[in-house]
């Protein structure tokens, strides 16, 4: 069944962005007042709704969209973080929002996408410290991928894209330094899955859990510049986690699995002619989910 054949779903698709925005706003305003379990359930719903909407908008048939949403959610890193056992769904949300917004910006290059990307990079900083790294390392890539025939003024574009993330960083620094308010701490971010693992296992987990990203990068039929943004996002999370782990920070395999999982969902939503590759997308996501559950037990198997 395609979206065009199912009228109620077409109507639902047009109202879904408003519902997602309302849920995000409610979470943003009410999270200090709500019990942590409710906030977590809200974040889980938000993640699933975003992936569902992204996959529908990409053109996947309804059943494939549902499958992609469920498989994105049951990947080990995201599922465990959703159940609050390890990791943080906030990192998944941050990576998905940034990767999707950046991919859409690279594809469409209009004022609305500039605002959405700026907002996503700002939001990502509120959700997880990795958001600032995404802003620093992803934006030059976005700016460096102009559309065909576009003579972009890269300094002007970079200034425009950096504006919102930089303002957010300054406000966050002020909130932490002067007001003593740290939203990231408040969200209870924890990224340690278990015991520390050697660096090579961390990197192995990142590369092995990313079949979707491999396809996005190397298979010509689904490769496009905006899809590569998701690959970069996953890579940034992986390298940053590795560095943080080396420096003894509280990051582990969970961060890699969550980051790569969320980037994979964003990558699938950026595949061109998605309806033609729907089966391949579902198969790749299923493989990613299976591999992630094998990898999640890697630390205890090794140690």
């Amino acid at each position: 069944m395609t979206l065009a054949e199912f009228a109620p779903l077409q109507r639902a698709q047009s109202t879904l962005p408003f519902l997602i925005a309302a849920l995000a706003l409610a979470l943003a305003v009410l999270f200090p007042l709500l019990p942590s379990s409710v906030v977590l359930a809200g974040a889980d719903t938000l993640f699933a709704a975003l992936v569902f909407h992204g996959a529908l908008a990409a053109g996947y048939p309804l059943l494939h969209t549902l499958a992609i949403t469920v498989l994105s959610f049951v990947q080990a890193g995201i599922f465990q973080s959703a159940a609050d056992k390890a990791g943080s769904i906030w990192l998944g949300l941050a990576v998905y929002c940034v990767a999707s917004a950046a991919a859409n910006f690279v594809r469409y290059r209009d004022a609305r996408r500039v605002m959405v990307l700026g907002a996503a990079l700002s939001l990502a900083q509120l959700l997880d410290p990795m958001g600032a790294l995404l802003a620093v390392f992803l934006l030059p890539v976005c700016v460096g991928l102009p559309r065909a025939g576009e003579a972009a003024n890269k300094a002007g574009l970079l200034a425009l894209l950096l504006f919102m993330p930089v303002v957010t960083a300054i406000v966050l620094a002020y909130a932490r330094g002067v007001l003593g308010f740290n939203p990231i701490q408040f969200l209870g971010a924890a990224h340690r899955l278990g015991e520390q693992v050697p660096l090579y296992l961390l990197l192995l987990a990142g590369f092995a859990s990313a079949p979707v990203l491999w396809l996005t990068m190397f298979v010509r039929a689904v490769r496009r510049a905006d899809g590569l943004i998701a690959v970069y996002s996953g890579l940034i999370v992986m390298v940053a986690t590795a560095l943080a782990s080396l420096l003894g920070a509280d990051r582990d395999v969970a961060s890699v699995l969550i980051g790569v999982g969320a980037a994979s969902a964003a990558g699938l939503c950026a595949w061109p002619r998605a309806a033609r590759h729907a089966d391949l997308a579902v198969a790749a996501m299923a493989l990613a989910a299976v591999v992630s559950w094998l990898l999640v037990n890697l630390p205890s198997a090794v140690t």
Binding site: A111, V114, A152, N153, G156, A159, F163, M164, V171
Partner: protein, 216 residues
């Protein structure tokens, strides 16, 4: 709709019927837009571009903005002689739109430096501005308003050129707070002129720009 002066098109029969424009108002176009709305006429926007020569010297810019703001003050004073009549003619939405677009334009320009001074007094000199049980909350709300308002204004100033494809102009949006300061100077100059020379028309010098208009 407070009309702007660069490109307006009227039905002459309507214009004659309402006895033309107020030649004593230095923004007669804005006043005309309000009068048309009060008399039940409608103004709409054509999706097109009008190129005009922008002022490129601070002195010229100040004179032009002073004139515009003085005109808005005149328009507000004229139509607010009988607020109930304005409300009846323009409707609730139109009445509040008038307050925001005409009144808000010059009131915000006049209030802005005072707000900045209060902010400096409060944060740099440690002077308590807001007293009472809600003092702290008011101070926080004011700080948020100051930051969010200016950030939004700067961002919009950067985003405008992007929509036009003039990205090289986007970084200039960062100096929008300086624009705010200058427009406040123009607003106080306008108040002074409204009292001393209410109908004086500060002419804008034209033909000084080196640039020629090009299609976007």
């Amino acid at each position: 709709m407070p009309l702007g002066g660069t490109s307006n098109h009227f039905r002459t029969d309507v214009l004659r019927k309402i006895h033309g424009w107020d030649s004593f108002n230095v923004t007669e176009d804005a006043d005309l837009g309000i009068r048309l709305a009060r008399l039940g006429h409608r103004a709409t926007t054509l999706d097109s571009t009008t190129f005009e020569e922008a002022t490129n010297r601070t002195g010229d810019w100040l004179k032009q903005r002073s004139r515009w703001l003085k005109g808005y003050m005149q328009t507000w004073l004229v139509h607010m002689r009988d607020p109930l009549a304005l409300w009846r003619h323009a409707g609730t939405r139109g009445f509040f739109a008038f307050q925001l677009f005409i009144g808000g334009t010059f009131v915000s320009s006049l209030a802005n430096p005072l707000m900045w001074l209060m902010f400096i007094a409060s944060h740099a000199l440690g002077i308590t501005i807001f007293l009472g049980p809600f003092g702290e909350a008011l101070a926080r709300a004011s700080l948020f308003s100051l930051i969010a308002g200016n950030v939004l204004f700067v961002y919009l100033a950067m985003l405008g050129p992007y929509r036009r494809g003039w990205l090289q102009l986007a970084p200039y949006g960062l100096i929008a707070p300086l624009y705010w300061l200058l427009i406040s100077v123009a607003a106080y100059r306008a108040v002074w002129q409204l009292v001393r020379r209410p109908f004086h028309w500060d002419k804008t010098r034209h033909g000084v720009s080196h640039f020629k208009a090009t299609a976007a």
